[in-house]
């Protein structure tokens, strides 16, 4: 199933992205080649040293929306601009894009040559008598293939993120694996395992009750409950390593592994720390109000996950994959 989901994410992404770009091109969503009318309030006129006009570009929201055929711009657009007249007589304009810029222009700027500015050429410019206000007609630089560019960028960025995340795990992994190793040598894990046998033997019938995997899984689940994410992942990976020692067919997940994974993905925690912290940061009167509801939600997820994992593992198509035959085990070791 993972193969299909993975493929679908990529294929659907590429098709939707390409489709959006083609429709943008046909509809000319970014009005490439069309002049937009604006007013510039001049703040600095050119001097001998500086060849540029500087000022503030003003476009009423209504005409901005009408020009692009959108409705998202709510207030009048005011942005700093610079205009330079080249020796050829052509005047170029640079619009500096900031956080208060309309989303539409921010998206265009992200996909143009300068990430925080829009470049364009001035078709016509008409100054008022005292040279303090100018009516300009501007053609912005061409913007196209926005989604395909975004897809390329995302693919490269996320590959980078994956490595950053993995490398970031090295330290905590080493710390917890070291600590757990001490507990193992001291016989502490065995003690913990024996204590919880009634529960774990039911959840993981394939795992011998006194196997070290059980203790690692119990510690992982406990760390998750307490919201100790830094500890939970290394302990979970330790549990996986132990579970894999009992795996007759390397490269294929056992029933116990799937059950353990589902417990983890359901994410049952007694205190959803991240959500509470963000609620507090957003000025909530009662940030902790979601503790009960989150436990209920994650409880639903855990129960549903455990029930479905136990039902699914009995289906012939998943049972079949556990069988060890020489050919398939060789290829999966590959």
């Amino acid at each position: 199933m993972l193969n299909y989901v993975w493929m679908s994410l990529i294929v659907i992404g590429l098709l939707v992205g390409a489709g959006k770009d083609i429709s943008d091109e046909v509809k000319n969503t970014y009005r490439n080649g069309f002049p937009i009318e604006a007013t510039v309030h001049v703040e600095k006129t050119p001097t001998a040293l500086r060849q540029t006009w500087e000022g503030e570009l003003v476009i009423p929201a209504e005409s901005f929306n009408r020009f692009y055929g959108i409705t998202s711009a709510a207030s009048e657009i005011r942005l700093p601009v610079e205009m330079t007249t080249l020796s050829s007589g052509k005047t170029t304009i640079t619009i500096l894009i900031n956080d208060s810029s309309p989303d539409f222009w921010r998206e265009m700027a992200r996909n143009s040559s300068g990430s925080n500015k829009l470049l364009g050429t001035v078709n016509s410019i008409k100054f008022s008598d005292d040279k303090s206000v100018a009516e300009v007609s501007v053609v912005l630089e061409k913007v196209n293939y926005v989604k395909l560019r975004a897809i390329t960028k995302a693919a490269l960025d996320y590959a980078d993120t994956a490595v950053t995340i993995s490398l970031g795990l090295i330290g905590v992994m080493a710390l917890w694996l070291g600590i757990v190793k001490i507990a193992e040598e001291a016989g502490l894990l065995k003690l913990l395992t024996n204590l919880l046998t009634p529960l774990t033997s039911r959840l993981f019938p394939d795992i011998p009750a006194d196997h070290p995997a059980v203790a690692a899984m119990v510690m992982n689940i406990a760390a998750n409950m307490l919201g100790l994410n830094n500890a939970a992942t290394p302990l979970g990976l330790k549990a996986m390593e132990e579970l894999n020692k009992l795996n007759p067919k390397l490269g294929t997940a056992t029933n116990a592994m799937c059950t353990f994974l589902v417990i983890n993905t359901a994410g049952l925690t007694l205190i959803p720390a991240t959500a509470i912290a963000i609620r507090a940061a957003q000025g909530s009167a009662e940030p902790g109000i979601i503790i009960g509801t989150s436990i209920f939600g994650a409880g639903c997820a855990t129960v549903a996950g455990l029930v479905s994992v136990k039902i699914l593992e009995k289906l012939p198509r998943y049972k079949k994959e556990l069988l060890v035959d020489d050919h398939s085990s060789e290829s999966s070791r590959g």
């Binding site: 590429l14 795990l169 390593e241 294929t252 799937c258």
Partner: protein, 182 residues
């Protein structure tokens, strides 16, 4: 009541790690384990495990990145919106429900944005934070946990994980409608 519970949990969370260090190392010393040597021996594996995860995580995150960047989410939301309105789920929270199992940082950003727009104590704000707290980033956990031991055939783990996610989101919606419903 909620406040007391929260305080207790808070104290346990803060004390858990130091306590674990103390108990584990202390127990080791009592049982005459060469704690330093054994620690180093165990810690050695940390590097290998982290490195082993990389290809799995790259594969997973790149696919999710492409899907998100393409705007395909809008298509999925359009398909799901009749269903969500049928069960009384505010349309604003549908993207969060879909993104939650795919991307931890992405869904955190969406939740923050929903609270910023609608207020953290509004129905949508409470529902969004409950939904965030009701599940884990399934695809990430799958890639990391199975990746660390080189599992390529994940069998029924993904379908079961997705069923769990769906029920987590429905559970969040159900309980929020009961307690904070409009």
């Amino acid at each position: 009541m909620v406040e007391l519970f929260r305080n207790i949990i808070n104290i346990i969370s803060v004390a858990a790690v130091p306590l674990m260090f103390l108990v584990f190392v202390g127990w080791g010393i009592v049982r005459k384990v060469k704690v330093y040597e054994v620690f180093v021996e165990g810690a050695k594996d940390g590097f290998h495990v982290a490195i082993k995860i990389i290809p799995f995580l790259v594969a997973m995150l790149v696919a999710i990145g492409i899907f998100r960047a393409s705007g395909a989410m809008d298509v999925v939301i359009a398909v799901l919106s009749p269903v969500s309105s049928l069960i009384g789920m505010p349309p604003e929270t549908v993207p969060l429900a879909i993104l939650r199992p795919l991307s931890g940082s992405g869904s955190m950003g969406l939740m923050t944005e929903l609270m910023k727009v609608h207020g953290p104590d509004s129905f949508i704000g409470v529902l969004a934070s409950t939904m965030y707290g009701s599940s884990e980033t399934t695809f990430y956990v799958l890639a990391v946990y199975f990746g660390s031991v080189g599992i390529k055939n994940t069998r029924h783990a993904l379908p079961a994980g997705i069923i769990a996610d769906i029920f987590g989101m429905l559970g969040a919606l159900f309980i929020c409608r009961i307690f904070f419903g409009v």
